[in-house]
Amino acid sequence: MNIKDQRTHVITGATGFVGSCIVLELLRNTHANIVGLVRATPDLSPTSRLRNTLSGLVSDYNLPQSLYRDITERVTALPGDLELELCGIEDFEALKGAEFWHSAASLQYQDRHKEQIERTNIGGTANALALAKAIDCRVFNGISTAYVAGRQRGHMKAVISNPAFVNNHYERSKIAAEALVTSSGLPYRIMRPGVVVGHSKTYSTTSTDGIYGLIRNLAKYRGTLDRTQSGLSNRRPITMVADSAGSIDLVPVDHVARDAVGLSIADAPQDHYHLTNPKAPKLCDVIAECCYCVGLTTPVFVGSDRELDPLDRKLHRRLEFYNSYMINPKSFDRTTVNNVLGESASPGFALDTHRLRSIYHSYLDRYEQSRTSLPVAR
């Protein structure tokens, strides 16, 4: 443990999937105090809400029991709101000089959510930066996404992204947010996770986005097919537009947190960092296992939506957001991470069939239970 690291860390999105794992990693590897900016709810104080979330994850991730005490003694929360000036924080004297982590974000992407996406991801980042400035933060860690690369293909260097290649409002908003950070005048690190999946040991996840959104929508598509014609999902192969030879950067949340906190502890310089998986799995395997787990046939991959029949075109439109993963294959350069962390960087996580299915089922089992009984079709 880094004994000298007793600074305070302020974090937005601390109850979120990535943010909460970063908090737990900070607790395990530093003596730092953590202050989460957490939206107030009528039933629980922000501190209680954050501590409850983290305590649940200690169990879900099978982490050392000593973390329960760390959570109680070293984690607090302030009622914050990214949509307010200075995130709604009025008294921030105690936060002076802290390291700032901004991981809160909207993962919406549809046209109808454009305003909300911009309000949260761009406006929220501006408010977070304003607060970071007000507290003279030591450094601003902006959690972005590796998929700001958009429609680009090939091996992506960790550099400023080009908004000309975006696929959707989400990607555009993340690039704009990065631009705010890099032009803020604050010392910064832009951290870009891949497609974040559950814990590498237990596969547990609190996320409903990324690959989980893809698998959920495939499950719903199966339901729609079978509602249209009983058993149609079994009889009819689905066709998807994808470059099946490419990879998709699935990275466990604890690996993301490990690299992120490692960069912080190492006082990594101002730069862009890909928190990705050097052993990213092949897209065809990832999608085939998604389909297997939801009861769809093994998909046929084609190069263009002109090769899709009308039903598969409907699916293609439904999965529009995931085109970033499926088309224009790309890998992510980790030189900036490796230069700082060396051998302590995440070694990569190979995702074989068993692991992929475990990752999917840790979400699917919970999702299926949450579905109330639907009206019968006949």
Binding site: Q108, Q110, D111, R112, H113, G213, R216, N217, K220, Y221, G223, T224, L225, R227, T228, Q229, S230, L232, R235, R236, D309, P310, L311, R313, K314, R317, R318, E320, S370, R371, T372, L374, P375, V376, A377, R378
Partner: protein, 340 residues
């Protein structure tokens, strides 16, 4: 078909009862509860406006099956009871509101009963009212309820009217009621709940913009008319209905099941109407046969207007349905290309 039956001297024509009671097929379980219900609850089933059909009327999307005259009737588009949408205007075009009012007392008074008894009492009441001796119920898309109807009315005879799946699918893709049913089914799967019964929108983000615009709280005519419903999707639906419907009808003796092709009614109306009339009621009057046959109109199939892409996809989608019908000796070929 319903019009032909309506002018039969002895047969009560019950048109679109189950389709509207079930709110275009989305409330089938409520229409066929598996436990006894009170007479008051039965009246509630007949009289309480249903959300989907109400939304359509409120947005001036009136199916051709809806015979209720909103200009002269006492109900507004937002509160037309399901039996007043089509069934009662079909029986009495001039006084449907009065007919509805006259039913409340008799239907509300009665013992708790299985749903089949309630329906029988309802039909019996109307037969007496209109001086008929037997009844025929016909609902669009009724094949999906065939199994339930067979269990509820095991003594009933069944007419299975079947049309070329390609033309059926094309017609469905343009029909207001079927479009609404299919988009609602998709919304249910995407949301994980029925948006007309539940305000939970946790999974709203999983809806495409197109489907989100058609949630009940956002519904508008422009979005509905723009909703993309490929004929092939309807073709898959048709194939599924044929396959499961034929399974449900399996085992019914030929004396109680009449399967008749729509194309045969159009090409040989006198012969077909005679078959139908004889099947329903034994004797048929020549007067009725002539009048009913004169009602038959052909509809030119529109599938030749489809692109090759859509036509091929439609053929492919309907193939399983055709195969299931061919096993019963029912086939469609070039002779079924109708002309005016």
């Amino acid at each position: 078909m319903s019009e032909m039956i309506r002018i039969h001297p002895r047969v009560l024509s019950i048109s679109e009862l189950f389709s509207f009671l079930s709110d275009l097929g989305m409330r089938i379980e409520q229409v066929f509860p598996d436990h006894p219900i009170s007479a008051r609850d039965f009246w509630q089933l007949l009289s309480q406006p249903q959300p989907r059909q109400t939304l359509l009327l409120d947005n001036a999307l009136q199916m051709k099956e809806v015979g209720y005259n909103l200009s002269t009737g006492k109900f507004r588009p937002t509160d037309v009871p399901p039996i007043l949408q089509s069934m009662l205007p079909h029986l009495d075009i001039h006084h449907p509101d009065e007919l509805f009012d006259s039913l409340e007392g008799p239907m509300k008074n009665g013992p708790d009963s299985p749903i089949s008894d309630h329906y029988r009492r309802f039909f019996e009441h109307l037969m007496v009212r209109f001086g008929k001796t037997t009844w025929v119920e016909r609902s669009g898309g009724g094949l999906r309820m065939a199994g339930r109807l067979r269990r509820l009315f095991p003594e009933a005879n069944i007419i299975h009217l079947v049309r070329d799946g390609r033309d059926t699918a094309l017609s469905m893709s343009k029909h207001i009621g079927f479009r609404m049913a299919i988009l609602c089914g998709t919304q249910v799967e995407c949301l994980g709940t029925d948006p007309y019964e539940d305000n939970d929108r946790s999974d709203e983000a999983d809806l495409t913009d197109e489907l989100a615009d058609l949630l009940p709280e956002h519904f508008n005519t422009k979005a509905f008319e723009a909703f993309d419903l490929p004929p092939a999707l309807c073709g898959h639906y048709w194939s599924g209905e044929i396959q499961s419907g034929l399974n449900e009808l399996d085992g019914i003796p030929s004396s109680r099941l009449l399967t008749i092709r729509y194309e045969d009614i159009v090409s040989s109306p006198l012969e077909s109407v005679t078959r139908i009339g004889t099947f329903i009621d034994g004797e048929v009057s020549q007067d009725w046969i002539k009048k009913a046959a004169a009602m038959v109109k052909s509809q030119q199939p529109q599938r030749n207007n489809l692109s090759d892409y859509d036509r091929d996809a439609l053929e492919d989608a309907c193939r399983p349905g055709f195969e299931a019908l061919a096993a019963l000796g029912l086939e469609w070929g070039k002779r079924d290309v109708l002309s005016n």
